[in-house]
Subunit: 368 residues, 2 copies
């Protein structure tokens, strides 16, 4: 496993070289985890992984976290903690400062203005350089360790949908169904969801910004699940829509259109094709069926340490799919007077096709 | 209710005047909520409440959120949305730009370096000014609307502890107990916890950084709960420790010391006394009992829209308590070989004493 992390960090040193950067600091917990195998959110405290030209990486973090960091991290021995009453300033100056004055690379979108100003001042640096593009490029394709993690998270998402369906009963509220799903997951040791679990019933299933509440499930409803599990730091994200009792022909029709559109989009996946093709495969099918205006979001988003990352699966993305990109495919149709349907799987692009991580059935389930 | 928000924003305009600031932008969702009654986290999208000298506030946000914002916000009619394909730039320049070039105030700790650079560039501004101090000063004392919200959140925290105690059984895991608490809360419509619910049993109760897991409750354990509910945007935070079966004299002793220390700290509360007195009341009692080195954190923290805010209840805080400050009082003793005890209430400072929002019993409960 150590090799995986060494490979990642060496590729980033290479990127630094290509961009003539001799000093960077990585502070976002997700990125630190990606390069080190150590996850910690130090909140208002400082944690930074300093990468300096021709030196081993240096991790500076709160003293409380040093023990765990040393256990988890194999890519460097240079792990230094600071006590709250000292603060990180002296230790940064001791190990990092002075000779690296040219430009400091950091995640300009993640680091606050105040923290950036502070870093510039203690390191006596004038120029800055945004490194997010370099990190995002690396994180864009997943290695086999990551795909294993994502697969495991996806399997729990499948189970979560199963628990949700078991909990459906006319008269039960959306929040009760969510409570039941998360109860069963926690019982089995799953601590974190990727995002707030969504269960929407009836016409609420058609609300793009719907929030689960006390609304109860009724016969004739479509119930939309959108949820995911976070495991080993990696996210899954699945949507399924099921019917309760007899539903109308219209409801069945939109289900069938979304199901076919989603399968077409999955079939379009293969290394080398432009990403927009995936979106268009679903979108054009839905448009031809006459529901184009009711599919008002992109077809999917990248998935990994964060539940939304690159690549974005939208109709204008000309970037070519690469082996190892992981993303969702989740077309939907939302008819205000009828209800909404969304079907979402987690997908890995391979040389030949799509490896689908989620596997809960997509055939229409009608609960009676 | 409108008056409350007008009062808050006018006090902030006053602060701007005193600091000779004629333009600020507030972007953190918590602060926007504090001033407007509208909560939204737009994630990577831009939302900003612009306050310009002698003008009504201007809120610029994603078009999707305009409808809800207009429903909730009474302090201004100047609410403008932008579509994703346009971005917020033009609309900011249209309503905000040009004549406000002196200095822009913003939350330097919240706004990313990239967003700050972007704002400076589109508004053609060179100087910046950190406004967090001004906002924190206002948020430091709570008005009656806030205290009502905090009281309601605290009542649910009391119930959550009750549910947790009901769920305790030898052989049950920490995660199962958490699952049971959150299940019952969600059933009743409570959607959000203030932070990840903590249930630690046995020797884990003594681990300051313990994470709940599959460890099961055994007879003789102390079980430590630390949890809170978020309601109307406001947080509660309670800790209770209970015994399962017969516990040792040592365990009973540390319980009793913490209980007395916590009550002494509460008795020390009253507007006008230095905040450090609260910490010292608990700390000195625990030290005299011989456990000083096992109480290794501050006595408490402010509580409000965020679960950790000002004031910090530590032994060096010389600031004087003011009526309406809300904070936790939560001393603890953590003996590595014995277990840990923490007791925590949510407190409002009044002119005469402490108004305690949480009310679950603090007498030692021994579950048999």
């Amino acid at each position: 496993m150590e090799q995986v992390f060494l490979k990642r960090i060496n590729e980033f040193y290479q990127w630094m070289k290509e961009n003539q950067l001799n000093a960077t600091v990585i502070t976002s917990p997700a990125n630190v985890y990606y390069f080190t195998n150590f996850y910690s959110n130090p909140h208002e405290r400082f944690m930074g992984l300093f990468l300096l030209e021709n030196e081993e990486p240096i991790l500076i973090l709160p003293a409380l976290d040093v023990h765990e960091a040393k256990e988890k991290i194999k890519i460097t021995k240079r792990i230094y903690g600071y006590a709250d009453h000292e603060g990180p300033e002296m230790i940064i100056q001791q190990y990092v400062a002075s000779s690296h004055e040219r430009a400091l690379g950091f995640e300009e979108n993640q680091v606050s203005y105040k923290k950036a100003s502070w870093l510039k001042s203690i390191l006596k640096i004038k120029d800055t350089f945004d490194i997010e593009e370099g990190i995002n490029q690396l994180r864009l394709t997943k290695d086999s360790l990551e795909i294993n993690y994502l697969k495991e998270a996806a399997e729990w998402a499948d189970k979560a949908v199963e628990y949700g369906i078991e909990a459906i009963k006319p008269g039960r509220s959306e929040l009760e169904v969510i409570a039941s799903i998360e109860y069963k997951l926690k019982q089995q040791g799953i601590e974190k969801m990727s995002f707030d679990t969504m269960v929407l019933t009836g016409l609420k299933s058609a609300a793009p910004h719907g929030k689960p509440g006390k609304e109860t499930i009724q016969k004739g409803d479509l119930v939309l699940f959108d949820l995911g599990v976070k495991l080993n730091g990696y996210c899954s994200d699945i949507s399924r829509t099921v019917a309760v009792g007899n539903i109308s022909e219209k409801q069945k029709e939109i289900y069938s259109v979304v199901q076919q559109a989603q399968e077409l989009a999955i079939k379009s996946v293969k290394a080398g094709v432009p990403i927009k093709n995936i979106d268009l495969a679903a979108r054009e099918f839905i448009q031809k069926a006459g529901y184009g205006e009711y599919f008002m979001h992109r077809t999917g988003h990248g998935l990994g340490i964060e539940v939304h990352e690159y690549p974005s699966i939208h109709e204008k993305n000309e970037i070519l799919l690469k082996k190892g990109m992981v993303f969702t495919i989740e077309p939907g149709i939302y008819l205000p007077e009828v209800g909404g349907v969304r079907i979402e799987d987690d997908i890995v692009a391979t040389e030949e096709d799509a490896y689908v991580l989620t596997s809960f059935t997509k055939d229409l389930i009608i609960l009676t």
